[in-house]
């Protein structure tokens, strides 16, 4: 009996399971739109994560490639210096007189092996005395000196020191790299010693200090964005607005900082220790919101493309540079819509941020000078919006952000 009673009661209420035909009101639809927008933002955030790591990988790859190329050219240029240094040491330390021969350029035009038979075919120079210098080449080679660099100098009338004990020399390889040497820098003294300030001027021309140098680079990073808002003394939203104090409390409760990706393409003009910086930056302002009273959550993101203009001062310290920078930037809004709780707690207000927004920034860049051209840097950066980014009746927001940028620049 009791079971039957329970069943009839349950059955009575089970009829509520069947939905009746109803249509949503405009308030439901408006509320849904906001939630769907927030869902879209979440998805975009995931996409943003993918984009971040892809960009990070690309920048790292480009940086490493630039570094590798830069290192390769530096090491090529430094080879003859080694030849010069070792040749000098050899000449002075052993005081060996060598015979000087004219080198037949036709035999050295292309990379090939220069073996002892070729060397013995050199014509003897009439003005230079000859004395024995046994096993010169093997001595140099034993030290790991690329003697070939010395011999491969390309010139039709080059006089070059060759030890007398030519037969003891192993085969010598000539490569194209040595063509950069200039023949007119070689001097053979009266004792037949090759004096070798030759390569210094040939390969490493005296560095001329430019008045201006330039660099381009990329910076990439993450920032934390902090908003501050003003509440007008009289709220305009109707009906039944909250008091300004209550509205402020609701907003303080519901809004919190958010984070953003930063991406800078930059150009630097150096003059002495000073530098001017400009370029193209991607910047975001915004905040996260969770208005529990109306059960709405999401993130406002105001996206700007901006042109900065900054002044830097460089403080060198060995391979590290400290480069503090201050500057201003003017940005153009590419995404400007945001949502905030209405002052009557009855939904959300959709607002637009300013189309043009300026900000001041300061950064303290720590630069690692990988070589003369390539620099890697890491820089804490502080930005502060100048004026209100959102200025919309009851919603007035300013922003500041603290970020960390990493990147590289290439001097030219």
């Amino acid at each position: 009996m009791k079971k039957q009673e329970e069943n009839s009661l349950d059955k009575l209420f089970a009829s509520l399971a069947e939905p009746s035909a109803q249509t949503p009101s405009a308030a439901y639809l408006q509320d849904l739109e906001v939630r769907l927008d927030a869902l879209g933002q979440k998805r975009r955030k995931l996409l943003g994560m993918w984009w971040f790591w892809s960009a990070f990988g690309a920048i790292l790859s480009i940086g490493l490639l630039a570094y590798w190329q830069s290192e390769a050219s530096t090491s090529t240029a430094s080879k003859p210096q080694k030849v010069e240094r070792r040749t000098q040491r050899f000449s002075h330390a052993n005081n060996i007189k060598v015979s000087t021969f004219s080198l037949n350029s036709s035999k050295l035009n292309s990379p090939k092996s220069l073996n002892t038979s070729i060397l013995t075919s050199f014509d003897s120079h009439p003005n230079i005395s000859y004395s024995k210098a046994p096993n010169v080449f093997s001595h140099l080679q034993a030290e790991g000196t690329p003697i070939t660099d010395f011999l491969s100098i390309e010139a039709s009338s080059l006089h070059i020191s060759v030890p007398s004990d030519i037969s003891a020399s192993p085969a010598i390889e000539i490569t194209n790299d040595q063509k950069v040497l200039e023949t007119n820098t070689i001097a053979i003294d009266t004792n037949g010693l090759a004096k070798a300030n030759l390569e210094r001027t040939a390969i490493m021309p005296p560095h001329t200090q430019k008045r201006f140098t330039h660099a381009i680079g990329l910076q990439f990073g993450v920032s934390g964005i902090f908003s501050s808002f003003e509440v007008p003394s009289t709220l305009t939203t109707i009906p039944e607005p909250l008091t300004p104090k209550e509205f402020r409390e609701w907003r303080e409760l519901g809004e919190r900082p958010t984070s953003s990706w930063d991406f800078n393409l930059r150009y630097q003009l150096f003059f002495g220790k000073w530098a001017l910086q400009t370029g193209l930056n991607y910047l975001e302002w915004g905040e996260q919101y969770t208005y529990e009273v109306i059960s709405v959550e999401g993130t406002n993101r105001y996206q700007y493309i901006q042109i900065p203009l900054g002044l830097s001062y460089q403080i060198p310290m060995r391979q590290i540079l400290f480069r503090p920078t201050v500057g201003l930037a003017m940005g153009y809004g590419i995404k400007r819509d945001g949502a905030y709780i209405l002052p009557n707690n009855n939904g959300v207000a959709v607002v637009e941020a300013k189309k043009w927004a300026a900000n001041a920034y300061a950064q303290f860049e720590l630069v690692y000078q990988a070589n003369k051209q390539l620099q890697f840097s890491i820089a804490p950066v502080l930005r502060y919006s100048l004026g209100k980014v959102v200025d919309h009746d009851d919603i007035m927001n300013r922003y500041q952000s603290v970020g960390l940028l990493t990147g590289f620049s290439f001097a030219f």
Binding site: K2, L9, L16, E18, L32, R35, S295
Partner: protein, 188 residues
């Protein structure tokens, strides 16, 4: 009467983010969503919140929906959303108070021959305590077993039974009051 099932094209368009398709799907799901929400909440803001949050989840997980009755799937989502909402608000804590074995009590024999409107039944449900309303809804209307309810809410089966019993008792009282107010008799 259950609303009509959506076409595959509509589901695909909604999954791909077509806002128009999403709103069309919302219109289709709305009767199921709102009728469920009304059984749990009397505050219209709370109803709107749970209906729209559930629909956002429908959109979010639409890619994972494969076959079966779409609106039953939607119904399960809103039920889960309501349970989640209870958990978020920590209201469900009071469920733990009733882990004692169900005490069998004598009850008035009851049969109803009256026809109540949907609104009246909803009003009666809304007079229950939140926990009793949640459990009774899940058991008597949604058709979950006590074991399933216990798993969903993280309570024992005995607790689920206890809340169902309390809900029935309260509903009976409300029906009697209703009869007395309307001057009608009930079979008892």
């Amino acid at each position: 009467m259950m609303s009509q099932e959506p076409q595959t094209e509509l589901l695909q368009a909604a999954t791909s983010g077509d806002r128009r398709a999403q709103l069309a799907l919302y219109q289709l799901c709305y009767p199921v969503l709102i009728s469920t929400a009304r059984r749990y909440y009397h505050n219209s803001d709370e109803q709107m919140t749970v209906v729209n949050n559930a629909f956002v989840k429908v959109i979010q997980y639409l890619g994972q929906y494969e076959t079966g009755r779409f609106l039953s799937w939607v119904k399960r989502i809103i039920s889960n959303e309501i349970i989640d909402e209870y958990r978020r608000n920590k209201r469900y804590h009071e469920l733990y108070k009733f882990d004692a074995p169900v005490e069998e009590r004598g009850s008035t024999d009851f049969q109803t021959d009256a026809i109540f409107t949907e609104e009246q039944l909803q009003q009666m449900l809304l007079c229950l305590s939140e926990s009793a309303r949640l459990v009774f809804n899940l058991f008597a209307i949604e058709g979950y077993s006590h074991k399933e309810i216990a798993n969903m809410l993280g309570v024992t089966e005995e607790t689920s039974k206890w809340h169902t019993k309390m809900a029935r008792k309260k509903l009976k009282e409300l029906i009697i009051i209703h009869y007395e107010k309307t001057g009608r008799k009930f079979v008892g």
